[in-house]
Amino acid sequence: DVKVTQSSRYLVKRTGEKVFLECVQDMDHENMFWYRQDPGLGLRLIYFSYDVKMKEKGDIPEGYSVSREKKERFSLILESASTNQTSMYLCASSLTGGRYEQYFGPGTRLTVT
């Protein structure tokens, strides 16, 4: 059974803190993605990675960075958390090739106070 796991389901951080969100997949997928979901805005792509140490900006990369040191692990970093980064963060993975569905983790609900 395919599995994408995220390190925390709920997280509360203070403004200015550095925040790490971890994602691990066990499907040997090449591609990994970070999205945020906000009411009325759907899913918006923050960053994605198509190989170890490779990354590409998505639609809303400002205020975020990512790290992919191993194929199965993709980290999202908020360098200095702000209240407008309060959101549901979703990690996904897929095979490469353009015709494959993405498998999502359960999400991390991040609140920045």
């Binding site: 994408v4 389901r9 591609n31 993605f33 999205y35 009325g40 805005l41 759907g42 899913l43 918006r44 792509l45 994605f48 198509y50 590409e56 998505g58 979703l90 996904a92 897929s94 095979l95 490469t96 090739g97 353009g98 015709r99 494959y100 569905e101 993405q102 498998y103 999502f104 983790g105 359960p106 999400g107 609900r109």
Partner: protein, 113 residues
């Protein structure tokens, strides 16, 4: 500019009836389309997909129809069940090797007993 549009934020249907969720797209390069279902506090789960070389794909109670000339697709759920109550996202891919998806904002479906 929104490339994938779900113009109905919500839809209410009675149990046993048909649910029809609609999605429009503007990018002519999109050639692969997917529907995801999302329960609160969970990650989206893949439901069904369709390639642009087809106009219909069926999987149990779920059927997706694609009208390329109108740049429109729809998801039919027959018969609808209370457990189908969730947010449904339409997504599209331009066939890049990275399998990036562009999501609509979602439609909340409520199926009442």
């Amino acid at each position: 500019d929104q490339q994938v549009k779900q113009n109905s934020p919500s839809l209410s249907v009675q149990e046993g009836r048909i649910s029809i969720l609609n999605c429009d797209y503007t990018n002519s390069m999109f050639d692969y389309f997917l529907w995801y279902k999302k329960y609160p506090a969970e990650g989206p789960t893949f439901l069904i997909s369709i390639s642009s070389i087809k106009d219909k794909n069926e999987d149990g109670r779920f059927t997706v129809f694609l009208n390329k000339s109108a740049k429109h697709l729809s998801l039919h759920i027959v018969p609808s069940q209370p457990g189908d109550s969730a947010v449904y996202f339409c997504a599209a891919s331009a066939g890049s090797g990275y399998s990036t998806l562009t999501f609509g904002k979602g439609t909340m479906l409520l199926v009442s007993p």
